[in-house]
Amino acid sequence: METNNPIINWLPLVIVLLPFSAGLALYLAGTGRPKLTNTLVLVSTILPLAFAFSFYPRVKAGLFPSLTLDILPPVGLSFRVDYLGFYTLLLFAAAGLIVSIYSLRYLEPFESRRHRYFGFQLLVLSGCYGVAAAGDFFSFYLFFEFMSIMFFVLVAHYQTGSAIRAAYKFLIMTIIAGVTLFLAVAVIYWETGTLTFAETGLGLEQSTLVMVAFIGFAVAFGIKSALFPLHLWMPDAYSEAPLPAATISSMIMLKTGAYGLIRVFGNIYGIDYLAQFDWAYYLVLLGAFTIIFGSIVALAQEDLIRRLAYSGIAQVGYIILGIAMINQLAIIGAAYHILAHAFMKGTLFLCAGIMVKEAGSRQIANLKGIGQKLPVTMTCFTIATLTAVGMPPFNIFISKWHLGLGALELEAMILVMILLISSMLNAAYYFPIVTRAFLGTEQLNSHSEFSGLTGNSSGHQTAGFTSKQNKLPLFTEAPAMLLAPVIVLALGCLVFGLTPVNLPLELIERGIAIYF
């Protein structure tokens, strides 16, 4: 049902337009004005989150804000925030705000091209919000494309040779994704004459074209969410892009692919329609293979960022696998994994940013003993790694629980095994970083980047950790603007399972129940 409050109905458009206009303004007028940059970035990320929150009472009551604009004929641009859309929008807006705060401190205040970076980051975010708030597949397509193309500038931000190469790789694959998605959308429109998100599918006829469209969707979203063998752009883009941009990609943009796939399964084709064919079966295979492949390759990476990137490939494999199992529990697990992975990987990426700045190196071997210099950061990192392994009460346990039950419902014990093996591999590539950071090193008293950065040598007296036995300061910590986002994300890994009611899970359960 739609709300009939006009202000509420217009808010989705505002949510998209705010970062869009702020981004444009920044890019055009932000040169050498760091204060303006900070203000614009904060305002245009805080407000969308607040507006998204304001939908909560209505969405909970089953009233969805929706708006159709008679522009862009013949289909028109429309917004509709239903359970799933609200869940995704809220997650994206929260992630966007957290990463933006972090990136304001992460990119040095007088770095050249800073305004360009933030301008395009806001443009990307506006595309992401649009994807989550889109009310039909045409709007979805527009925002999806806009977001993907804008991200190109972020990848190329440092303008080194390798960054440009990574950006080209990204651009080419993005264009392939765009073309195949366009083809798929066109076929669906031609077949049915509409692209709205129907509750149980559009009632498609059986035809080869429809199957081709399915492949188109799979390829487009597979590229976006780095499904094997379409993941090629991702490790390079992540290691060349500025770290906050990689974080945005990992927390938000990968998830737009997964979100799109859920929409395609539920709203375009319909679960009953897909259950007749074994198309999704191939996606299950690819998802399962992606999980194992990503985990094993991650194990071999010596570069922290690349290890995180490959681990992301494996984690998104969970989501694809869950969706493709076409079973209520598994899709709930997959949708919950969108949130679980966003918080987990966001924490890891932002921690990695601090660690890399402190150690001056991205090689994992050089991160030994860093837990003594950055205890808070590394504690958050540890929480995120425990999440990655799927320990209760952390988020990924909840998604794995649903995925596992879904697999058992299909009597596919092998998929449960794959989840377990992947968890074990997660432990194998994350825990050594943690254990070496905390244990087995002498007290390291070398120069700390952040003691210089904060310009505050009395920062050594932090908290109660200064030991009586040796007078040397035990640790320094990153500045609060880097640390606070990390702590918030790490708490996010934990808090949803501990609260008496798991709000995101409730939203997902309602949203997915509609499809069945």
Partner: protein
């Protein structure tokens, strides 16, 4: 007086909050931190005592509320088995906490050590107080992580190696349990303990669940062939942690198997699927292998570690024989072994701290140098061999009777043979310590500080004192528990 139903949650909250306060306080002032840890463990033990009356009356203490909104809510429940293990945990932790300040006197990173000591107790008690398999898994996984920091505490290469081995095997064990949990929930729709067997029919999925349980709890318990972490982790850890690892944490594996046998599968289903044959075979191999390997070790703590493997085999043997008296023996042996092996490890720690000697061949005359420690050591070894009136005798007697009840006299011979092996690897230590050199050549007296010898003495006394006295609470509880298992 508040309701007993609040006690389990109070204990857990006290421990968790205590750990956080300790982390802060111990960095500021170590002595306050140490005192706080001892006070908290004492308070926990005191609170746990209040759980005895209702449970002995036969009313499990159920938590009045449930926690979290993981896929399911988690609640707490204390029945006689939980109480039995819970009391052991609370008691042994008090002694370990009292023993630690002197043992760790020159150690490093002591604030971390005390924080994780409390966190480890929190997770251990959480495991036994959990009312369902989901809560069990929650604390079981956290236990692996928290105890890792205790095992690897020394941070030398050996400790890191042993710690990693322990960590990764524990994680694998946790995943095995997760696997079984999924299947149990899928088949039964609930994972709560104490509502009768959850699984009712034999099926391939049920077998898979059993394998998951066996792997997970087998790793934790140190059952052959999953024992490989144990001989490294026990010697590498600081002595109080070794005592807790061997005295308590490997028993958590046994506790899990008890739950799996009687709360998940139920005795009829176990017999129908003949699952006890698997554990029986593994138990026999575990006993023989542990004893044989213990004979070969020269490092004292390593010998104790292999001996723990053998002793866990007894518990598994009693469990797999599935008669009332064998189960009584198995449950009682958890107490027996916790006391005597706790005592032995604390003695070994005292020796290492006072003399720096780890090898048995170097311990000539040590009984003359550290008489109180070595007398306690001797008492514990007597219990280990199973000489009356020590506890070890009672549990072996029960196990032997249980084997006869099951119509399997062969296992009585196994018990006797294994006791002889026990004697063969423990008595030479005592003989070396007291009689290897004449009194004049023994060197200076270097008895450990009272803070260490008193916990050792208490444990040594508990290896026989309850067996001599008129009321043997652990044995009574063990009887109640095994009768509950058998549905009597």
């Amino acid at each position: 007086m508040f309701e007993p139903s609040h006690i389990p949650a109070t204990i857990l909250i006290l421990l968790f909050a205590g750990a956080i306060i300790t982390c802060y306080l111990a960095h500021r002032n170590l002595v306050y931190g140490e005192t706080l840890v001892i006070m908290i463990t004492l308070a926990v033990f005191g609170l746990a005592l209040f759980l005895i009356p209702p449970v002995v009356r036969g009313e499990p203490v159920e938590s009045a509320y449930s926690f979290f909104s993981l896929p399911l809510a988690i609640s707490l429940r204390v029945d006689s088995l939980s109480l039995y293990i819970g009391l052991l945990i609370a008691f042994l932790w008090v002694l370990a906490a009292r023993y630690s300040p002197e043992y760790m006197l020159h150690g490093h990173a002591r604030p971390r050590y005390y924080t994780f000591l409390l966190l480890a107790q929190f997770t251990n008690l959480g495991v036994v107080f959990a009312a369902d398999l989901l809560g069990f898994l929650l604390f079981f996984e956290l236990m692996a992580v928290t105890s890792y920091f205790l095992v690897a505490h020394e941070e030398d290469n050996y400790a890191l190696f042993a710690g990693n081995k322990y960590l990764y095997m524990s994680i694998a064990g946790g995943l095995g349990l997760f696997f079984s949990l999924l299947i149990v929930y899928h088949l039964a729709g609930t994972t709560a303990f104490g509502e009768g067997p959850l699984l009712t029919a034999a099926s391939p999925l049920a077998t898979a669940a059993f394998i998951g349980f066996l792997v997970s709890f087998g790793i934790k318990a140190g059952m052959f062939p999953l024992h490989v972490w144990l001989p490294d982790a026990h010697p590498a850890a600081p002595a109080p942690v070794s005592a807790l690892l061997s005295g308590i944490m490997i028993k958590i594996g046994a506790y899990g198997l008890f739950r799996a046998f009687f709360d998940i599968f139920g005795i009829e289903l176990i017999l129908e699927m003949e699952l006890h044959h698997i554990t029986l075979t593994l138990a026999v191999i575990t006993i023989l292998l542990g004893s044989a390997m213990a004979l070969l070790q020269d490092d004292l703590k390593r010998r104790l570690a292999y001996s723990s493997i053998a002793q866990i085999g007894y518990i598994l043997l009693g469990l797999s024989l599935l008669t009332e008296r064998s189960l009584t023996g198995a449950v009682f042996h958890i107490f027996t072994h916790a006391m005597m092996k706790g005592c032995l490890f604390l003695c070994a720690g005292a020796i290492i701290i006072q003399t720096g000697k780890r090898k048995i061949s170097e311990m000539k005359g040590i009984g003359l140098q550290m008489p109180s420690t070595m007398i306690c050591f001797t008492l514990a070894t007597l219990s280990m061999v199973g000489i009356p009136p020590f506890n070890g005798f009672i549990s072996k007697l029960q196990l032997a009777m249980g084997a006869l009840d099951a119509g399997e006299p062969a296992y009585v011979f196994l018990l006797i043979f294994s006791s002889m092996l026990n004697a063969a690897y423990y008595f030479p230590i005592v003989v070396t310590a007291f009689f290897a050199v004449p009194k004049e050549e023994a060197g200076l007296k270097m008895e450990a500080a009272p803070g260490m010898t008193v916990p050792i003495g208490i444990l040594a006394a508990l290896t026989f004192i309850l067996a001599v006295g008129p009321y043997n609470l652990p044995l009574q509880l063990a009887r109640t528990i095994s009768q509950g298992f058998m549905g009597l």
